[in-house]
Subunit: 305 residues, 2 copies
DNA sequence: CTCCATTATACTCAATTTGAGTATAAATAG
DNA sequence: CTATTTATACTCAAATTGAGTATAATGGAG
């Protein structure tokens, strides 16, 4: 940080999220191994508008909410960069609804990349087979070191620490350091056991995805952004299922209702669902909320049913 | 976002914060009108390490905590950029302790730029003269428009809405739109009254500072980062004063103690303060916490004494 | 040495918010 | 018309919060 400019190559990377029938999905290149990215065009007024334009052209669907995630410029990233310069990647999180993918892109269940992050199926708290294997590998890595052991415990909710669904990145990072994800082997790290299940991605894309999930899981707790993922009108259960899909955790039904209804975020449409069981009221988000998304608080109840 | 690279100029901008005797301060160029910035050097391994190196060289003081804030690339910013290309600015928030400034830099009270953000002095909730003037200007701007009026109310805590200290950026943005800060006039916006008190800064530096304050005020509530601003050992009152300085709000003493002591973040040093009044226990932050900053939760009590 | 101003620390208590249930209502499928 | 399914309404104890009051330990003034 002193004098002189240099040639720099800038790319945008997008993590586009949709939730379809209880499955949180992310837009990827066709085979699911990479996030969509492309160079920053001179024609774009701003980063945000550049990204918006590109996404809407690709997906033919409006992009509801966009948020900047992180900017990377490590030299490790500059493989594709000009010889003398370096490459900067600016990543974004975008919320949208799923549309038929065009061309070489496809929607993938994000838990495909992070199977351990989906805890909606768990009942009596018997660890899954996968969890058991993961713990073994991590234990082999900590090898009794107290600091390491504590990091593992607080990230994965062991030794009496509660599971925190926001720590997606911390968990991925730890698995990477322990050599338990494929990317670690690829980057030449020592492994401490079989890789944990979960599809790898190109370069650091899986880490970027983890960052996005962390951010989103945190954000839905205090800002009304979930509604960008839902249809125009929805029942309280639809809303709950959507939140649960993102958080990877089941929630208490009555409490969820109580919290949501007490916040003046929703208004009734006057219509009802049909189908098996008692019809549910359909709601929509109050339009004023959308305009003040950045200012309006939201609360969500915590875990389990 | 399609093909072709271009020449891009990248800069780092730092918002360095320290708290000295109840005053939150920010490192600026000597006259206080700009934040320190400089081009990204090819020698830096990563953005973060580049910033760290630069800051430590300038201030001769270690930089405790660093966090990326936001990356801008609006064409409005590219005045200094190469003719055909554009300029990207990556901004950072850093926490440190104040040291004698070297060369052309100086520490400034951040409330100098945002006088309305300091509400520690307020007692009976009679609006300040400044506040009254500000409200007038904002009312002139909303001109009865319901949406505008609501934005103002929720950002500034009017019409029964509670003041939210995190909305620093929203408030600055609103004042800018209403033409009530100097930068607005400079950029050729229509004014709706006298500019509100508060020193302007070059380009969008004041907005960046607002972003930093927002982030920091939010962060101290859930991550243990305050201790980067405190001396090695401190009393509970020192800690409280530091948090209050950042939040711009006074807090309830007993409740502050209760929350801080119930969290296992602190450990006693065995020493005590001296001076007027009963000596206070001196604490330090548990070292393990520093290592797991990104994982460990913190809670803070809310407002007022 | 005593009293006072000053700050620290310990308790108290009501109001609210949470977590976890149970009970009742309104549909559809056979 | 009965079982099944989902929605919605209540209940209740535990925990957390907001706002105080009471007591303890200093240094300084007289």
């Amino acid at each position: 940080m002193a004098e002189g400019a240099q040639t720099i190559h800038a790319e945008l990377i997008a993590v586009l999220v949709a939730v379809t029938q209880g499955v949180p999905r992310v837009l990827t290149l066709a085979d699911g191994s990479a996030l969509p990215e492309g160079p920053l065009e001179p024609t774009h007024r701003s980063l945000q508008s550049g990204l918006r334009a590109w996404v809407e052209q690709q997906t033919h669907h409006p992009l509801g909410y966009v948020e900047q995630l992180y900017t990377f410029a490590d030299q490790a990233r500059s493989a594709k960069a000009p010889p003398e310069g370096r490459s900067i990647s600016i990543s974004y999180l975008g919320l949208t609804r799923e549309a038929a993918p065009q061309g070489a892109i496809s929607w993938q269940d994000w838990y495909r990349y992070f199977p351990w992050e989906d805890r909606r199926g768990e009942n009596k708290r018997e660890p899954t087979l996968m969890e058991a294997r993961m713990r073994e590998g991590l234990a082999r890595w900590d090898g009794g070191d107290v600091t390491r052991r504590m990091r593992v415990a607080s990230a994965f909710g062991l030794d009496g620490v509660a599971w925190n669904e926001e720590l997606v990145l911390a968990r991925y990072q730890l698995l990477y350091e322990a050599g338990l994800v494929h990317e670690a082997a690829r980057d030449g790290r020592a492994a401490h056991g079989e890789p944990v299940p979960g599809t790898p991605m190109v370069a650091d894309h899986r880490r970027i995805l983890a960052t996005a999930i962390s951010r989103l899981r945190a954000k839905i707790k205090y800002r009304p952004v979930v509604f960008e993922l839902l249809a125009e009108s929805f029942s309280l259960l639809d809303l709950q299922r959507c939140v649960e899909a993102l958080a990877g955790q089941r929630m208490h039904k009555s409490n969820f209702r109580r919290v949501m209804e007490g916040q003046n975020l929703l208004e009734e449409t006057g219509k009802f669902t049909s189908g098996p069981g008692r019809p549910a009221k359909l709601f929509r988000f109050r339009e004023a909320i959308r305009a003040e998304r950045d200012i309006t608080d939201t609360r969500l109840p915590t875990v389990r049913t």
